[in-house]
């Protein structure tokens, strides 16, 4: 049913329809509305779930770990500092192969403290073994939660999934969203049937110590599942389209106006909405530009990116995060895609924008297209304020 609704409320509605048995979260801007709504739903009886108000994010993740280990569907949500505080539990959940689903309302990282949107938080946890999918708008944010549960709980996967949505921009933005009906959700997302669980009828020990004779194979298994999930994402996207009538193709990337494009920006998340507008405008003027939107960041779809960009002469990667001391995260993946290959762009330039919630406007995108030229830019920030850049501390 279509509703004009705040992003957070839409997420709460779709999570409700997934019927998690244990919900645990700790308040952090800008995730708060999602969790408040779920608390309201539990209190009113709309949602039968155990809502556990914990004393930190570390415990929130631990509670859902324990709940999931008992074979119950669980949910948590966080951002930024909260995600960092629960980092070791996040890795732990993936290593234990528990199908936890988490919403990450992307927010900048301290220090300095900043509550506005960028993607440093989830990107910093890219090595954790969680599948990460990034929404462009609130419809995707809603749909991706259904897909996340379906994917996580697939017996061939059994990996946790992080649905990433830009904080404030999506969580607090009002959009018309089609909230999936319960019957269709029931059809698409069956009840969770765990492969292993804590059960007095059939005792099991979980979380054992693995010495050098045993550890490496578990990482191999995780890596293999990540690789295989590239295919499962396509399968599940087809199933989703059959039930809900929305086609996310392979759920890996979105190609926007790539045919005969000479300049393409690669980006992830809500900024793609702005980029699409600029692309449309430029195309109307005869400029051959396009956008490749990354949807699945982990597993990173190298083969798919290769297919999409192999004939594009100039590519600019726009990262909304930074890996301090090295090249930008998505830019590195894109460059790796083409190294040693016969075909590929002549130029892959890397730009970082939007950190700490600095607005990315159409002007920013024009600037990126303008700077995407024959001279490759290894790494640069866009939209810096020179008046703030002083030579010496205390000036």
């Amino acid at each position: 049913m279509k509703e004009f609704i705040e992003g957070s409320h839409a997420i709460a509605e779709v999570v409700k329809s997934c019927k998690p048995g244990v919900i645990s979260a700790y308040p952090i801007t800008p995730q708060t509305h999602i969790v408040e709504d779920l608390a309201q739903m539990v209190s009113s009886g709309e949602l039968k779930s155990q809502f556990v108000n914990v004393e930190s994010e570390h415990s929130a993740a631990s509670v859902v770990l324990g709940g999931s280990a008992c074979g119950v569907r669980v949910y948590t949500a966080t951002s930024s500092q909260g995600l960092f505080l629960m980092q070791e539990v996040v890795f732990n959940i993936a290593g234990m192969r528990l199908p936890v689903v988490m919403t990450c309302a992307n927010r900048a990282i301290s220090s300095p403290i900043n509550i506005w949107n960028d993607q440093q938080d989830s990107i910093s946890l890219r090595d954790a073994g969680w599948i990460q999918i990034y929404a462009e708008d609130n419809q995707e944010a809603v749909d991706f939660h259904l897909i996340a549960y379906r994917l996580a709980e697939d017996k061939r996967v059994m990996l946790p999934v992080m649905v990433c949505m830009d904080g404030f921009i999506l969580t607090h933005g009002m959009e018309t969203v089609d909230i999936p009906e319960q019957e269709k959700v029931n059809k698409f997302l069956p009840a969770y049937k765990p492969l292993y669980k804590l059960d007095t009828a059939d005792p099991i020990s979980m979380g054992l110590l693995a010495d050098p004779d045993y550890y490496m194979e578990t990482r191999f298994a995780l890596q293999e599942t990540m690789r295989e999930s590239i295919v499962y994402l396509s399968e599940i996207s087809k199933e989703f389209n059959n039930v809900f009538g929305r086609d996310y193709k392979d759920l890996l990337v979105e190609e926007y106006q790539l045919k005969d494009a000479e300049k393409v920006i690669v980006a992830m998340g809500s900024v793609c909405g702005t980029i699409k507008e600029v692309v449309d405008e430029q195309r109307a003027k005869g400029k051959k530009v396009g956008l490749l939107r990354i949807i699945s960041y982990r597993p990173f779809p190298y083969a798919r990116v290769y297919e999409a960009l192999k004939d594009v002469p100039k590519v600019a990667v726009l990262d909304k995060s930074v890996s301090l001391g090295a090249y930008a995260p998505i830019a590195v993946e894109v460059k790796s895609t083409f190294f040693g290959k016969k075909k590929g762009p002549k130029v892959v330039s890397s730009f970082v924008a939007g950190l700490g919630g600095r607005d990315i406007t159409p002007e920013t995108i024009y600037e990126v297209f303008r700077r995407l030229s024959a001279k490759e830019v290894n790494f640069d920030f866009v939209d810096l304020k020179p008046e703030l850049l002083k030579e010496e501390y205390g000036e």
């Binding site: 004393e55 415990s59 509670v63 770990l65 280990a69 119950v72 010495d211």
Partner: protein, 294 residues
Amino acid sequence: MENSPLFKCGHTACAGCGQAVAARLVIESAGANTIIANSTGCLEVFTTKYPETAWGVPWIHSLFENSAAVASGIEAALIYLGKKDTINVIAQGGDGSTGDIGLQAISGMLERGHDILYACYDNEAYMNTGVQRSGLTPFDTNTTTSPAGALSSGNLRPKKPVPEICAAHGIPYVATASAGFPQDLIRKVKKAISIKGPKYIQIHVPCPLGWRHESNQMLPVARMAVETGLYPLFEYEFGVLSGRKQIVPKPVEEYLKLQGRFKHLLNNPGEIKKIQEIADNNIKKYGLKLEAQG
């Protein structure tokens, strides 16, 4: 209780380990309908080195400081499944994982009122990593990070009163117990399991390696800790002291001389006097002294 299928032979605890005795008695007293969340530490390492497990009940180890939170999630899941009434949930760990790094998670668990028993195996240091000092290491103890030397008589801080901290949360049941008094421990675990709500039991467990005593000395060492008043055995219910084991107090030297970790004190009457004061304060505070029957 024999050839326990709940805590199997073949684990790799040191010979004479007090914690192995206590852990086995805890799970046997709780029974087969129990799920355990265990912190990282000696107990976890010596019972679950892949591909072996000593546990005959469902058991999970996540991290060092979160067993109380994991147990909270297990309890919530069991309530959701409608099974909580027939299944016990135990969260357990050592003194370090309980009173230091895991204190926040326990406080949250107690405050939320989960129906969980928390069992702390108190061997008074971070033993699994090599006998480093914890918040529950007693005053003047020699550990690797509070070593006795020319400038120090060992750990210079008093033992963190974790049972009292838990009792201050107003929970239904808090108790201290000792591996040297196994029947008392069994009674307390069974009592705790029968109560609905959060419970905390802290069990004094000698560590032959860390405390520097022979493997066969667990009982005299554990008992002397209690009989000097240095490790009082008591019960709190809803924040009020409701029971204690009374003793005929022995001088603290009788306890200190049994263990290498206090060796440096034996020629130091000034420090022994301070430790005697700690014991005397406990005896007074908890009313431990067995009054002569007239």
